[in-house]
Symmetry: C2
Subunit: 625 residues, 2 copies
């Protein structure tokens, strides 16, 4: 059987294989935040003709179903099909955000004062051909040439020996050597005949519990070629790190979790490389940042000790591995650097974030908060660093919210509600595009606006009679953020509860950690915020809902995904890689979950903005108005 | 079909598979110096009943054929067979020579002044179990413990990470770490739960062009557990290094040659381990010495540059490799150290030999000569070392001589001929054993004795009417060294010519190299002789035939196989391994083949003892008598 796509492409399919799987095998990747469980409703396709069995219709309206909409992960073809894939369902390179971001990243690298000294380098060697008077071996000839270029120490892994004689002769004694810098020495990671010094790329990866982001970087100049991201398909085994560790341990399925993340990365990379016609053998290195569990699952390390007292990971600092050891589909000999972690619940993504914020060089007291599936908070400066974790949940990344989505094309990223007319005004990511969901910044704005418009109360409960946008939905009351043809975008009361729980956990983390180290919010000169909220996070609205403390606006800096930014920096600078190692060693982990204070703060935070309204004087003023 | 053996064992066989191959598949290994070409006559079996097709009967007498003798490599079963394997055909552990040799080797190690600091070590670590107050990761815990034991630098290859958490917990926080010492650091090569510190063995290997010798050594005390040796089965692709390089290059069969030597080593090792019930996972390291071509073929490196001007090997110093990379059937993570070579025709076996003789520490001028398939000569002392090669051929190892054999059980190792009666008296290796062939020392003795008894002339031609032991054989005139039931042991005129050519090349090498460096034989204080001649080489007889220069007897020292001895030393001492590296760097190679002087000397040496009889005054005196 086959599926004909409206694009003209035809792919093979089988009755027992989901359309999502068949598309994947043909190299067509759809968004699937639930990992194919049929619950997120993101892998929508439209069946134009032909019969298919749909085993789940969750998140599809009757009108959509009538039009042929189906979830690719739960739909199985009965005969040849003709299928349209809506653009929003496609997993795509995020080309549009790049131009600006590349400049920002290069500016940040410049700001750190680091030169470009990439993790791996390519060197062109022109060897003098051997003669009877100069008859040293091929390997000695190569080493002599490097020595004359000032490279005194060279480590040659044995695997490069069998091909050496052929390579030097094929290139007529001109070869390109690819090396990586380790603690003390250069180590060969590739030898090719002739001049292959350009192009050379590195890959920076952020492995989030919910989202995976891949940067392709030109190693010669730090230019960000492109970005791709997707939901971590480990989600099908559980939403948070704990359920995934349970899956790995009790179900003995570490391999499945490992395969899932490696496959995700392989897909993202192949999408970027195809989009830019980049040959896979021009990729020379990977730097990966993730929380401790994600790093373990990525490297195939047993995570079981992370879950159980006394919470022991296999490692916090990881030996270099090679692509071939991990199943990453590039040259198997290229090195993979994984950011060091601090403890079981403060991982490499946070070390990477601290590197990106450069707060470890500041004299004044700073806070860094990374709001992902787990929220992690770091307080400190050039003298000291302490870190803590508070489980915020994945809602700001779009997971667990009925119409939630990541901050990509089609996402509602800002919401305004006129207090008089209750008219709703939306800002959508992308040009001339209809909204397909709501991302983190949109959620925060919506909650703040709904609160001040009286549509929700302090507990987040929807008020039935205030707006005609509040209606009874399939899962109880819901607020219609956008009313589209055949598909509305709503925030249900359960979604709002989720968001309030998340913001309460974040604020509780802030205040408890500050208390632990003997400071108050007033001592904080700078708050760096990281997370997948979208391009712009409206700080004032985040304060209004009580997610962030009420401090002068200029003290806040929203940095986006700092985990991948730090990975970008490490790919390009050995100095910064050394600094990342130092950050990890220097940081002290404080366990908040055992703290009574944290639980009290959390419960107090389940109101908008907070039970202790005096901590939010400006919000209090606004509420009075 | 099956073959029943007189031992009671039954093995499977097929009509198109030689009996040699079928035996090999069943783990029964026969001697086969020609590598299965059907030319050496060493893999004899006796077919007691059943039909088989024999495609070669070379080296079998009619009487033997009548008794059922056949060559296993060229015999194919037509039906079920009942077969007897004579003891002499079996490839066996050379248990009998060991007791003495182990003491000698340990004495030599002691003499060098080196402590036992083996290539690899096992350390027992008792880690404190983690607690909430001591919650560092498994890897940090391990490193902390090593650090407290003074091991500051530890390299952890990534491949040991996935199993780490399981291993430390399985051993209840007691683990055995196996490490190897590299230039600057300890590197993990194994981690096991609990106390696995004993036993720990190392393997020393000499890869000769003709013969492979394997030592199994107890790393804790230097005890030589056992020795096994066999013909290098690469012989089926050619007798000398040149024909093997041609096979690898022009026939593109490097893999075949590589497989042959790896398989030989695997077989020898499994024979020793089985004989001593040694578990394969107690083997921790390999040290291998061979000439430059053999080392390349062993490591799978392209040898083609060695053959053609300007004679460039891939490498002279080789990066460490691992058993798994080479297909050696032990723990794939254990390291393989290959001795450094000097040049294309002076290899690691010579560096190993120089290490074993310790001549690089002597004040007086010394010569070292290793007579294998190639003869290599080193002249020097603590100040300088020069080396040269002269192709002697494999005859002293038994190859290319009709009834030649290695110096193992059944070999005629000494021959005496009564000048009056022409009675022949033989000395055989092994107790109460009938001779099955003649080894190197036996050949030298036979030539000397035959010459002084007038059985051969100065050119090595057999004299028909002197002894009734001279007869017309299948390949011309031959001398019956031993007359056995059904099988005589003879030296044919062609064998004698071979031996004379070999001794001429050796002497020419000696004298030419000396001339090149401006010395004469009288300046030489010590001559170290290495080779596979047998336990005892009669120096006087070697002088009589003009192989060795006429110097006082006490200046000669016969050392046996110094290549494997040097490998033994390197397995046990890091200091000596460093010295081996120094020897290789210090040695200068001199090319003799282009020297007119060498050719002249060689031609002059094709007489017994030499055209220039005045160089042998004592032999001259004897001849007059």
């Amino acid at each position: 059987m086959q599926i004909s796509l409206t694009s003209g492409k035809k792919i093979k399919c089988l009755p027992e294989t989901s359309i999502l799987e068949s598309l994947k095998k043909a190299g067509i990747y759809l968004t699937s935040s639930c990992g194919g469980k049929g619950t997120c409703g993101k892998c929508r396709i439209i069946i134009k003709s032909g019969q298919a069995v749909s085993k789940s219709k969750i998140k599809l309206s009757q009108e959509e179903i009538n039009k042929g909409y189906a979830l690719a992960c739960k739909t199985f073809p009965s005969e040849d099909l003709f299928v349209d894939i809506p653009k929003q369902s496609m997993l795509a390179v995020e080309g549009k955000v790049v131009t600006g971001k590349s400049k920002d990243l290069q500016a940040l690298l410049h700001l750190t004062g680091a030169e470009i000294t990439p993790f791996t380098e390519r060197v062109l060697l022109k060897l003098p051909p051997p003669t009877l008077d100069d008859n040293i071996s091929d390997l000695e000839r190569l080493k002599r040439e490097l020595f004359s270029k000032g490279m005194a120490c060279l480590r040659v892994p044995f695997r490069f020996m069998p091909g050496l004689a052929y390579t030097v002769r094929k290139g007529s004694w001109e070869i390109t050597l690819c090396t990586m810098h380790t603690e003390d020495c250069e180590e060969i990671i590739g030898i090719a005949p002739g001049n292959k010094t350009t192009p050379q790329y590195g890959v920076a990866v952020d492995i989030g519990t919910t989202t995976i982001v891949v940067f392709l970087v030109d190693l010669t100049n730090g230019n960000l070629i492109d970005v791709a991201s997707t939901y971590n398909s480990q989600i099908r085994f559980g939403d948070d790190v704990i359920t995934r560790i349970v899956h790995a341990t009790e179900h003995n399925k570490l391999k499945e979790l490992n395969d899932a993340v490696i496959t995700d990365i392989n897909i993202l990379l192949s999408i970027i490389c195809n989009a830019h016609s980049i040959p896979i053998d021009s990729i020379d290195c990977f730097v990966v940042a993730g929380n401790t569990t994600m790093t373990h699952l990525f490297l195939g390390l047993d995570p079981s000790g992370i879950r159980e007292e006394p919470y022991i990971p296999t490692a916090n600092a990881f030996p270099l591995s090679f692509a071939g050891e991990l199943g990453i589909k590039v040259n198997p000999n290229i090195p993979i650097y994984a950011f060091p972690c601090v403890a079981s619940y403060v991982g490499g993504d946070i070390v990477s974030g601290v590197l990106a914020t450069q707060l470890y060089k500041k004299q004044e007291l700073c806070i860094f908060i990374d709001i992902g599936t787990n929220g992690e908070i770091v307080i400190g400066n050039a003298e000291w660093l302490v870190a803590a974790a508070c489980s915020a949940g994945p809602c700001f990344e779009g997971s667990g919210i009925q119409h939630g989505m990541r901050a990509t094309d089609g996402a509602i990223e800002d919401v305004k509600i006129n207090h008089e007319t209750l008219e709703v005004e939306l800002k959508i990511i992308g040009e001339n595009i209809k909204p397909t969901g709501i991302c983190g910044s949109g959620m925060i704005a919506a909650i703040a606006e709904m609160f001040f418009a009286g549509i929700i109360d302090q507990k987040g409960k929807l008020q039935k009679d205030v707006s005609n946008r509040v209606r009874e939905g399939e899962n109880g009351l819901e607020f219609v953020v956008y009313s589209g043809e055949g598909r509305d975008i709503v925030l249900a009361e359960s979604d709002i509860e989720n968001i309030i729980r998340a913001k309460a956990a974040i604020y509780a983390g802030f205040s408890t950690l500050l208390k632990e180290v003997g400071y108050t919010f007033d001592d904080i000169q700078k708050v760096y915020i990281a997370g997948g909220f979208g391009k712009f996070l409206d700080i004032e609205k985040a304060i209004m809902i009580g997610m962030l403390p009420e401090l002068p606006k200029e003290r806040f800096q929203y940095m986006g995904n700092t985990s991948v930014t730090g990975a970008y920096l490490c790919i390009l600078s050995r100095k910064l890689r050394a600094e990342a190692e130092e950050i990890a060693k220097k940081m002290t982990y404080i366990e908040l979950s055992v703290s009574h204070s944290f639980m009290n703060e959390y419960i107090s935070g389940l109101f908008i903005p907070h039970t202790n309204i005096d901590a939010f004087p400006n919000v209090k003023k606004l509420m009075k108005r």
